[in-house]
């Protein structure tokens, strides 16, 4: 066993991050969200892309990735709501291709709501939000076909993309569409950088709605994220120092495979696994063979126990 059970540490850090975010949302609400957000070229290009599509009389295509209904696809739909708002003003047709049925229903509601708010409900086309397929490459083929057939003038690929990212980006590039892309999958970001005009990198994707709308809640949340990053800078600095000093020190005992402390024959240099930081983030699991005395279920209930513990 180790000296301290450090499993609480991850929970404490997570709740601290949540506190930073909620505290700043509250703070920003009081200051009406009038806080500085740096320029993001990919988001400034939205109006330019829609303007171009309007001039050419071609549709704007949007794809929120192939993920299920989660924070990423909701964020993508939030950005698309903003794109649709501008497109609705100019009467530019839109196409939203979706690979997940749950995202499809949410997307349809959001887009209809946008047209309603803009007083352009007569321009809303139910088929503009389209479920294509939930199979990755069938979806890729379907969207590429729509890009080619409809000659989309502007494309927005924002969300959770995998191998199909480059198929979309290159298909759109082949017809000369202006492209704004961003993926939360860091492995796909280089492909977008290589093939698209503007790319949202990393957390710029999550900063997008705050940048576009300047709602106090969203701006406050963004500042909370910056506080969280500062906390991580502190952890990284502490980790570097701790590891650097720790690796110069020696140990006289070390845990074996079972997690028990064993005396060493002679002092040895610390390994990464001996350092305080490693122990902090990797607490020993509770010994699997240790019996805990608990009351038992009645015999007939224990025999019929269906699932659960």
């Amino acid at each position: 066993m180790q000296y301290y059970d450090t499993a609480w540490f991850g929970i404490l850090v997570t709740f601290t991050l949540v506190f930073f975010i909620t505290f700043n949302i509250r703070r920003s609400e009081k200051s009406s969200g009038n806080l500085f957000v740096r320029r993001i070229p990919g988001l400034n290009a939205i109006d330019e892309a829609i303007g171009r599509a309007t001039e050419m009389g071609r549709p704007v295509l949007m794809v929120p990735g192939i993920g299920t209904l989660n924070a990423i696809s909701v964020q993508a739909m939030n950005i698309f709501a903003r794109v649709t708002q501008t497109a609705a003003k100019f009467g530019t047709p839109i196409r939203i291709c979706i690979a997940d049925a749950a995202v499809y229903t949410v997307g349809q509601e959001i887009i209809k709501d946008v047209y309603q708010r803009e007083g352009q409900i007569e321009r809303y086309d139910m088929d503009s939000v389209q479920f294509v397929s939930d199979r990755q490459f069938a979806f890729a083929a379907g969207v590429s076909g729509i890009i080619q057939r409809e000659q989309c003038a502007a494309t927005f690929f924002l969300g959770e993309f995998y191998a199909e990212a480059l198929i979309f980006a290159e298909s759109a590039n082949a017809i000369g569409a202006i492209q704004v892309a961003g993926s939360t999958q860091v492995t796909q970001t280089p492909f977008f950088v290589a093939a698209c005009d503007y790319v949202l990198i990393g957390d710029e994707f999550y900063a997008a709605s705050a940048y576009l709308n300047r709602q106090p809640i969203l701006v406050g949340s963004l500042i909370g994220q910056d506080w969280c990053k500062m906390l991580f800078y502190g952890f990284i600095l502490f980790g570097i120092l701790n590891l650097s000093v720790g690796r110069l020190m020696s140990v006289t005992e070390r845990r074996d495979e079972k997690g028990e402390m064993v005396k060493l024959e002679k002092p040895e240099k610390m390994k990464n696994s001996d350092t305080f930081v490693h122990r902090m983030f990797n607490p020993d699991p509770y010994p699997a063979d240790k019996e805990i005395e608990r009351p038992q279920k009645p015999a007939e209930e224990a025999a019929a126990a269906g699932g659960g513990q």
């Binding site: 924070a71 909701v74 980006a169 860091v186 999550y206 240790k290 513990q309």
Partner: protein, 295 residues
């Protein structure tokens, strides 16, 4: 009934059936309630459910997990009672997450049918593609369910892994799924190789300082994957004999770039993305996330 046994009633027991009926009635009631509620109330109901569902997972994350539990164990104190309850409920919550999107798939199919039947009826441009899609959709579903019905209900005793037992249903499904769909998936995937080439060509054209740096690093990485280049590089720097200059070996440079440039950059991006996702999740949880358009 204790709190801990709420999710773990024995199979076929009267309590389980009672709770199933209560759940069904409550579900149907809730469904019609939401359908008939005014928009403002509907948002409040959905917000409330979102809060509760997320709160469950927060509790699951933060609450001490009972260690070394056996199927016959009962909780020994209040903390463990809640822990048992949360652990037992996890399976049920995951099932909710699987069942609800399964219902929504019907809406997805409805969207497909609406778009493509509309194209077909109005004879819009490229309507022929819509015919192919509709025929594929119907035939795949027909053969899929037909073979499933035979395996499950008509002749469950047969060894269906043996292709000699297959009839039209299984052969049709195999042809459509393995013979066509999988092959077309593979074809789409392999197209990426050509797209990478064209994208790389555009990205690597030397137009700026950044593109030049990217090209240089890509060149080092690509050369490092060629055995002959590694061999020559090792021969060259080993031949000089200076220990410091051995750091200039091709694989040393490539590994240094990978470990000290690529990995930290990717981790920094991942930190940013993770914090962004957390902030988004908190906003959704607390019902602070609106449609994103602004007021």
């Amino acid at each position: 009934m204790t709190l801990a046994s709420f999710w773990a009633h024995p199979s076929g027991s009267s309590q389980l059936i009672t709770w199933l009926i209560i759940g069904l009635v409550a579900g149907i009631g809730l469904f019609f309630g939401i359908m008939n509620a005014p928009t403002r109330a509907r948002r409040a109901i959905i917000g409330g459910f979102t809060f509760l569902a997320a709160f469950f997972y927060i509790l699951l994350f933060a609450w001490p997990r009972p260690a070394n539990v056996k199927p016959t164990d009962l909780p020994k104190d209040g903390v463990e009672t809640v822990g048992f309850f949360l652990q037992d409920a996890t399976t049920a919550f995951k099932d909710f997450g699987t069942i609800i999107p399964a219902f929504l798939l019907g809406l997805g199919v409805y969207s497909l049918l609406r778009v493509h039947l509309g194209k077909l009826v109005k004879k819009q441009r490229d309507w022929q593609f819509s015919v192919v899609l509709l025929v594929s959709l119907v035939s795949m579903a027909t053969f899929g369910y037909w073979s499933w019905y035979i395996e499950r209900f008509a002749e469950p005793q047969k060894d269906w892994a043996d292709t000699a037992t297959w009839g039209i249903a299984h052969k049709g499904r195999d042809f459509l799924f393995d013979g066509l769909l999988q092959q077309m998936d593979a074809a789409m995937f392999s197209i990426i190789a050509f797209f990478i080439l064209s994208a790389a060509y555009r990205a690597f054209r030397i137009r700026s300082v950044e593109a030049t740096i990217m090209l240089s690093i890509a060149l080092i990485m690509m050369l490092n994957t060629m055995g002959i280049m590694q061999f020559w590089s090792n021969q060259l720097w080993d031949g000089i004999g200076n220990e410091f200059l051995k750091n200039l070996k091709l694989d040393e440079i490539a590994n240094w770039l990978k470990n000290n440039m690529q990995v930290p950059s990717l981790r920094a991006l991942e930190f940013g993305v993770a914090i962004g996702a957390l902030a988004m999740a908190v906003r959704i949880w607390l019902n602070l996330e609106k449609s994103g358009v602004g007021s």
